[in-house]
Amino acid sequence: MPQPADAPPTQDSAAPAVLAIDNIVLNLPLAGIGSRALAAAIDLAIIVLVAIVLSIALTLFLALVGLSGVWIVTALILTQFLLYMGYFAAFEIATRGRTPGKMAVRLRTVGSAGGTPTTGAFLIRNLVRVIDLVVGVPVMAADARSRRLGDFLAGTLVVHEERSEDEIVLAQIPPQWNARQVALVESYLRRAEELEASERSSIGRRLVAMVQRDAPHLLSAETATSIEHEPAAVLRRALLAVSGEG
């Protein structure tokens, strides 16, 4: 029976838990002020850009069609108004919780229990954006789940959306290893390509040495040179493939 690993250092333990059915704690990856402000900045930039392009295009189009200045100004007032008022709510309702800015930062609005919020909730949280532009940041800083006033009213949270990547899962594990060692090797293999070459080989060699110490039979027939130069590949061959040896 493996010992439970130490407390997972993943989430802010001060944040109140989100419970799913059977009272299972969902450690939702809550988005903080930084990523949320970045998403909002992207959205605002898009709004300004679209407003400018739309004004020019609309003016040219209506002028070509032959409408008078009054109607052009009317159209401009209406489109700008709808753009500013409707952008956030329309996108969040249509995509169930994302705006272009949120997509870019990989965020999503979810309900307080991790579910899909109702249309009314999307409306509420975006209608009070006027106020949150002023007081939102201090409110978010004070809240353990980084909620702004609109989130309190609508009962929503903003979370990071994790991408579905091909996870590297170890299939062969030295018998006396615990979960932290498994997690270490898995995270090394997942990130090996992002590491600098010298770091990659020095960490890799230490991990191979660990396998060598605990389960030498997994490393059979590996030449010293390949361990020296491509420890990641050696680890992959040894621990990912399911073979008859283990």
């Binding site: 990856p29 307080s112 899909t116 109702t118 009070v128």
Partner: protein
Amino acid sequence: MEYNRFVALRTPIWDRFEDALGRAQARRGKALDYGELEQLAFDYRRVLHDYALARSRYADTSTARRLQRLAALGTRLLQRDHGRRLPSLTRFVTHTFPSTFKRRLPEILVALCLFLGSGLLGLAITFVYPNFGLVFTGPGALEGLQEGRLWTDALTEDIAPMAAAGIGANNIRVALMGWAGGLTAGLLTLYLVFYNGLMLGSVIGLTLHHSLVGGLLTFVSAHGPLEISMILVCSGGGLVLARGLITSDDRPRTVALREAARDALVLLVGCLPWLALLAAVEAFISPAVGLSPQLKLAIGLALEALFLLFALNPQSMNTSMSTSSDRPTQGHTP
């Protein structure tokens, strides 16, 4: 260790779950037949339990990360918050808005009283300083007033569509500020109501002083009554929010606030179509010189009566008044 046995044993379930979620996501719930849906719900529970196990025993491993992602995604797709759907348009018009309006009448009346009080205050000030109203109209209006012209004469029919769009956008913005301003513990809402009352009172006083009040009242009679109602109802919504924020009774504040937000949203959404209608009236009918003052007044009163009929709909009395929230399952649409 058991990690690889756990993974080998349970991966087929996780794969099936992820695959079903992917299909449900791609085609918005119509991709699964009943059997698959039942399987999905069953697998969701198993994934949650595996996730709880993986988090405590195999923290930070790839498997724990994958299960974390699946649990979050499954919860998002399979669970709808509050289980409440938006009411249909008919139901909103016949029940949701009227019952909310009646339940929140105290907040709306507070806004009305403040408005009337500040209006009287504005009027009273102009008896002492007749030109106090110029604070709101701008000093440029004085010259015209002395020549017997109102500043509203600038609104002519050829710029009506532009004026309608501008006025409508502005009215909705003010209404929204009054509504969302409830989040400042109601201070911004109360300020806006006070400001608008003071403005109306002092502007009436100003025109009274220049013997032009008839012209002003004719100008505002078509849109004024309803516009004031809209500002008061939206501000009432703001006060509903403020009340939820300040007095949560014995409930958690987030719960009280969310309930208040629902009512406040109903009040605001119910006002939006009327605000759009008002913009058209204010731009096309109010400045029209061809229409008699009596007709304008009749239009104004008719609009107000229509709104009150909608808001106080007597048929909504017998249903859903007893509950604190309007549930679609209760009562029947007459």
